[in-house]
Subunit: 259 residues, 2 copies
DNA sequence: CGATGGCTTGAGAGGCTTCAATGCCGGTGG
DNA sequence: CCACCGGCATTGAAGCCTCTCAAGCCATCG
């Protein structure tokens, strides 16, 4: 409820998918936090470590990293402000992939103990968290398709679409700009390409007039044309889901808004 | 508890990760089921449909399919008998990817209503289901790395490793064989390759003596050599997790085995 | 002002695809 | 009983997309 509460963007994001009561919102906003600054290119979750907390991105950008055979890295998920980056660690504390800040990033660490508490006390929150994990998996699934079945140009365009859509929470104008201050090398790690080829691909997109990139900001002259080119269908991001309650109704009994 | 209960393999699988009480096991085995035969290459979950049930693979093989731009398909997950293929639909009923039988497969459909009931009644089961979703996501994450960052040979070998490991529930001998009756075209859809190149790659693996493939059965002369070649580390499959209870302890109060 | 990190561009190589044709096998119907 | 057919496996040749290696440029920063 405090505007500058670091948990507020997170609450806003999950609330559009799973309707919560005022009490439940308070519970989330009241979660104990440990704020932390992470500079670019440094891990804040190490591979193989056992976690007793989950991380929420407050400001900046973070990526989930996996390791290939000869040390080459692959980003499997991009996390924007408001994302609980490793909520899943609550259920499976062994970190099977690392988390790294892509830019200077401020994160918040939330102890599993506290999360467990509100999850037990408010089943609707448990459901909501569970749903977030499921949707993260759906996004990851699309990530696979993007990387495997599209060529470099479409791939990059699709990434732009996804990121823009998530930043703007689904309310798209026909023409706008957004910040994506990542290096081409980091883009390459996301797209399964090399930095050199990302460069060429990017310039090709610019030459086609699909985007206009300058210093970490991406301008989109025509959202419709980009979507068309990128084969982008936002359904998998699950933004359009009408807020509804699956288990909360039963679990909490009455006092809950329906559908 | 009935040996031929179609839910028994599923219970066995999840029980090695999340310890359950006798009562909870009974609750799972008592779930209402609708058995169904699905012949190869036919969808049993259509893209874009809204689901009121989840599907459990009893016998055969199923894949989760995504669609690329020009209709080319990509398999994002392979489901073996005992897998609850779309447990996630309980939280997010809109099917964002299709499910298809790869061979003649018998599945069981379990109404969401019934799942919701036991999830509400037994929080430990909710936790357990949630964990399954999280682990599915971890497997998917490794799938990304496998496809993006490894060449065709290593890719195929890694798929063999993963499948073998899951079939045998992690207890590997040095030398064994297992069934994988899928066509090379289906393998291609899993690996992000073409059927032609899968063929060549497979023959290269055979020539190297890493595997021996005949008519849908894969023989592995040396598990260690294959693992080495495939860059396979089973940690992401979360088989070795000691059974422990995160929220069940609190949620159910006493009467629960710890750690 | 040198050093560093990121961006840009070129040339050559390689892995994978595409297109095409052949062979094998099991099923089906005359 | 056999010819036919369709799905699958196999192999070849050519081409393309992307990688690798290499060099030069620009901005920022100590």
């Amino acid at each position: 409820v405090h505007a500058q509460n670091p948990l507020a963007p997170f609450l806003q994001k999950i609330h559009r998918r799973s309707l919560l009561t005022g009490e439940e919102k308070e519970a989330i906003l009241g979660l104990p936090v440990r704020i932390e600054q992470v500079s670019a290119h440094t891990d804040f979750v190490r591979l193989g470590s056992s976690l007793d907390h989950s991380c929420l991105i407050v400001h900046g950008l973070a990526g989930r990293f996996g390791q290939g055979p000869d040390g080459n890295r692959q980003i499997t998920a991009l996390h924007l402000p408001g994302d609980m980056a490793d909520l899943h660690s609550l259920l499976s504390p062994l970190a099977t992939s690392a988390m790294q800040a892509l830019t200077t990033t401020t994160i918040v660490r939330i102890p599993h103990v506290a999360l467990r508490e509100i999850v037990v006390r408010y089943p609707a929150i448990a459901e909501c968290f569970w749903r977030e994990c499921v949707i993260d998996a759906a996004v990851l699934s699309e990530w696979v398709i993007n990387i495997c079945r599209r060529n470099a140009g479409v791939r990059l365009a699709h990434l732009y679409c996804e990121t823009a859509y998530r930043y703007r929470l689904g309310s798209m104008a026909e023409q706008f700009a957004f910040e994506l201050p990542v290096t081409q090398h980091q883009l390459a790690d996301m797209l399964g390409l090399t930095a050199v080829h990302v460069n060429r691909t990017m310039r090709a997109l610019v030459a086609r007039g699909l985007v206009h990139v300058t210093r970490g900001t991406v301008e989109i002259p025509s959202w419709r044309r980009l979507v068309d080119f990128a084969d982008f269908d936002p359904a998998y991001l699950h933004f359009e889901v009408a807020p509804r309650v699956a288990m909360g109704v039963v679990m909490n009994g009455a006092g809950r808004v329906q559908l």
